[in-house]
Symmetry: C2
């Protein structure tokens, strides 16, 4: 009998000391539970998203030293764990020291050598180099090593063999992407299978949460276990890791798949857990029902975990939120209040002459419902002082001593208001309150930069910036109905027209508001960012001409005709937002706060972009000219 423990631990990136301590504790716990084997996630010791910390030799050596402690702890237990492996005598292609993303196995204080490997560890073969991943920048793959050695990966990828209680076991070891080989030219699992019989397979991962990813993984890994006719242990970490601009939660969701392709055990998401299964019983265990949850329930789970852990990471205990009476700030307020408690939240309403009694009242109502600290800081006087200073103080051209004056347009005044609220009031209030202030931007605004830099675009974290506007509304309902169980976000905030209230053109009581038609633009913008092949105006216009646009975008039927009576109006709208998306909005995103990622494509490191200005393909220009008869 072989008792296998799977350790769904929180990995703290860049802190091998803490991770090692946690692992040693879990090893002791596993021994208590009579485990013969314990499995830890990929990169359990260093963490995974570390930026260029991988270029610090002393950090690398430190991780190797901590690895030795884990190896030393393997008395009477087989420990499988992920760590960085350094070959100080060899080079990476950047000329720096050779680093492998490695899978170690240790027993009785010694490493177990995989059958055909030149090192006493397995090496990650497939290196993700898309979305938020950057493996190829730092880690030398098994494929490269095979080439260097004049052999092929097939000759190196091989099972581990160890003995427990006199019985010999063979394990197939995979590192994360090695199990997602569809788009690669080789399949590590298939190569391992040639060494059958293998008693069980292990996939150690550091796999960030993305909406819908677990369903896909279960589909793929069930099929894998069935194909190889052996149990598959998928062990993923929990916690929070980031690439600077983009922050990922890791949900764990470690799962055991039986050789029949059933899920026989699954750790709760976002919770540390040490499960133990007896290998020989895996096939006889009943299939576990995975509780189906709505998308918004998953999103809430990820966001609340992410916010809590990000605050921990940066040691922030109190938060200030500017509330306008609109939906985004209300959802942010309800979310943070749940995480930190109302005693640690200061809500600030900052009216100018353009703010209606309606939204002022709704803000007050929201604050009362949440029971937070609340203050009202009017900005009118300060804004007027700024406009006055800028217009009245003479500007002297020192070449000829001619004096002139700046003119402050209504549009410039709109942005002065937005900056006055954030950079003056909220930043000051946050520092005085002993915390930071939030950025409440959603993904639609962020896409086209419908926000003011150093104004509503600022904050320490943009927790909602990976949510389309319709998801913000869904989250509002979810918070009221499921999280709080009563109406904390007033219905009036849900019903009111979205508006920045920065001028009389945005008067909510007259039903005026944002230029964004969210039921359409949410989906148009999603096609620019999240579609597998990113859509451009050429694709959009093509779909429009073919009459399949709404279907392709996934928005409601009839919207396009309703919003845009003529092709010219349609094109004007398309170009307006495309120009912003690929123009000023990039400049704003470069200086935007970190985004908490939940979608299949979040802004930041996940969606890399250059300030190159808008571009329209020749085909687009030709289609447009034909449509408008201007060619």
């Amino acid at each position: 009998m072989l008792n296998i423990a799977y350790a769904q631990m929180e990995v703290i990136p860049g802190h091998p000391d803490k991770n090692t301590e946690k692992m040693l504790q879990m090893i002791a716990d596993a021994k208590e539970k009579d485990a013969d084997v314990i499995i830890f996630p990929e990169m359990a010791i260093p963490g995974y998203f570390l930026g260029d910390t991988w270029e610090q030799s002393s950090f690398l050596a430190d991780c190797m030293e901590y690895g030795k402690e884990i190896i030393a702890a393997s008395k009477d237990i087989v420990i499988l764990f992920g760590n960085i492996a350094v070959d100080w005598k060899k080079k990476n292609n950047d000329g720096r020291v050779r680093k492998y993303n490695a899978f170690f196995a240790a027993q009785n204080g010694k490493l177990i050598h995989p059958d055909n490997m030149p090192y006493p560890f397995m090496i990650k073969t497939l290196m993700p180099n898309y979305r938020e991943f950057d493996d190829t920048r730092h880690f030398f793959s098994l494929q490269k090593l095979a080439r260097e050695l004049g052999t092929s990966p097939d000759q190196l990828i091989s099972p581990l063999t160890f003995k427990v209680n006199g019985k010999r076991y063979r394990v197939g070891c995979l590192l994360c992407e090695d199990g997602w080989s569809d788009d690669y030219e080789l399949t590590p699992l298939a190569i391992l299978q040639r060494h059958a019989p293998i008693d069980f397979f292990v996939n150690i991962s550091a796999s960030p949460y993305t909406l819908g990813k677990n369903d896909k993984r279960n589909r793929i890994f069930k099929a894998q276990a069935k194909t190889v006719k052996a149990p598959l242990f998928y062990v993923n970490n929990i916690g929070l890791q980031n690439n600077g601009k983009t922050i990922y939660t890791f949900d764990g969701s470690s799962t055991v798949y039986s050789s029949e392709g059933n899920i026989v055990a699954c750790c709760a998401p976002y919770e540390e857990a040490l499960g133990v299964l007896t290998l020989e019983y895996v096939s006889s265990l009943p299939a576990v029902e995975i509780r189906k949850k709505s998308a918004i329930a998953h999103i809430y789970e990820a966001l609340s975990y992410g916010v809590r852990h990000f605050l921990d990471r940066i040691r922030m205990k109190r938060v200030v939120i500017g509330i306008s009476g609109g939906i985004d700030s209300a959802v942010a307020a309800a979310l943070y209040t749940k995480v930190l408690g109302p005693e640690n939240i200061l809500l600030v309403n900052m009216p100018s002459v353009f703010n209606s009694e309606t939204t002022k009242g709704l803000s007050q109502q929201l604050a009362r419902n949440l029971g937070c600290h609340y203050m009202i800081v009017p900005i009118q006087e300060s804004v007027e002082h700024t406009v006055q200073q800028l217009q009245e103080i003479p500007v002297e051209f020192l070449k000829n001593h001619v004096q002139s004056h700046l003119q402050v347009s209504p549009f410039v005044t709109e942005n002065i208001q937005a900056r006055d609220r954030s950079a003056r009031v909220l930043a000051g209030a946050a520092a005085a309150f002993g915390g930071g202030f939030t950025c409440n931007a959603n993904k639609a605004e962020t896409t086209v930069g419908y926000s003011t830099l150093y104004g509503d675009q600022s904050g320490f974290l943009a927790a909602l910036a990976d949510l389309w506007k319709y998801q913000v509304y869904e989250l509002a309902h979810y918070l009221n109905d499921e999280v709080y169980g009563h109406e904390v976000i007033p219905q009036g905030i849900i019903d009111i027209v979205p508006s920045a209230e920065l001028s009389s053109n945005q008067n909510v009581d007259e039903g005026k508001g944002d230029p964004l038609k969210y039921p359409y633009h949410d989906y148009l913008f999603r096609s620019f960012v999240e579609h597998w092949q990113k859509a451009t105006p050429e694709d959009i216009l093509n779909w429009y001409l073919q009459g399949v646009l709404e279907k392709k975008l996934g928005c409601a039927d009839g919207l396009v005709r309703q919003y845009f009576p003529t092709p010219a109006a349609f094109i004007e709208d398309l170009e307006r937002w495309w120009n912003l998306f690929t123009g000023m909005a990039i400049a704003k995103r470069i200086q935007a706060p970190p985004v908490l990622a939940v979608s299949r494509r979040a802004y930041g490191f996940d969606h890399r972009e250059s300030q190159n200005g808008p571009y329209y393909t020749r085909k687009y220009r030709e289609m447009k000219a034909k449509l408008l008869n201007t060619d």
Copy 2:
């Protein structure tokens, strides 16, 4: 006789229409000059730094279409050029369509097929995946293709053959990194050489400017030409490309190396040029003397080119600069004034009660010397209004209706001042003036976040953020002595102690100022960022204990003893800045403006980082304990 033209063109990233137009013009010019061959840079049609624009299928198709125009223009001339090549039937490892970074050759309307290639183009073999480069994310390498085809790169890498005037020529084609193979397991040049005789080699590049890189390239490429006993044409583009946060100038510096290893032609940096050489005469040409320039002259050249082109790119014609009487803002003012002319520059001095008459006078003097627009906007009233509002408006805790008040500390007030200047005055003034405002931060400040977010950390571009403080001073002298030829930056600004003047503790007239000891910290911080193996406190303390710290850092001898009388003082300083560098400063850099890169490691995409908090290795902790006798 074969006349070879090398086209050092400006490549505009993401604008294949403009690049194609430029190329067609240069092809016509080359024909006028009786050229038989014309060589364009790598990725001449699409540009190189495009972020994830490579995931837009319609953009890819567009580039291919423009490529056809270039191919069609090859009547009576051989055109060698870089473009993206798409194989719509195959996949990249991310599952998206297959993309190659390709080297095309066309003659008489048709592509010339390299001898052993499965495609009618050469494919980049070595993919840089360090610093600012991201090739592996987007492009499928020749090595991967070879593996897919079950062959080796040796079998695919082969010369191009074409005939001109009845004579057969063979060309060795390389793409940028292919010529920098020291750290790779194969050397494309050596493979090509096996096909000798080859008449000449071509390296088409998209190689961003980095201080010192050209010297290294000349050393390596001279040796290569000598080794292969054939002329080598290195053709690089000029222009500006960016990865969002990090902006690179491309200096061109296209060079022809003779088979004797001499430089026989070299285009002026940062200028479009169409050189023509007769292949058969290359060996008889005299070696060209490369004019040696000081480092600061190179830096000024890169910065002034970069600022000019970045302003063009974002269509900004006027700039506002807050000037404090300190060195950074003075250098920024002199730099931008040279680029845009004084009529397009508004300098703004924004005194509070903490600003000395000295610095106010120096600001005025600077503005007069430059002859720009100038205004003085006091911030005292606004800052007091903010502090008053924050302290006097009651905060109500709505759970129990208890009222309290925020307390604004002197430190909080310092940051309120900084934000008042930038987010209130400069941002408003810039919008009214019709432009943007600059961020004048240097690299030392940026390293440790010695700046205020939404305050002096903000602006549309941080042109000096890749310069250490000593380089800012060098640039000040260079601007006065070489660029303007007279003192525009007053000597008083060069002499004054650097200070933020945000409190009475920073009184310049009393010689008080920044906590940064630049003659030491410039070099300490450089070791964290720019050293080949990034230094950490473990390395620093190790060097300190060995008595080699100053030598390792490159700073002046005796400084460490002078600044830090005791080991405890040394360690306190080290940890103070390391905590900031790996803590709050990362949060600030995430929201900082784009950086104009000149060094071997600039902030942003070139130096990737995660907000993981400070970490000290075990060895460091042990050394420290031993040193302080606290173990």
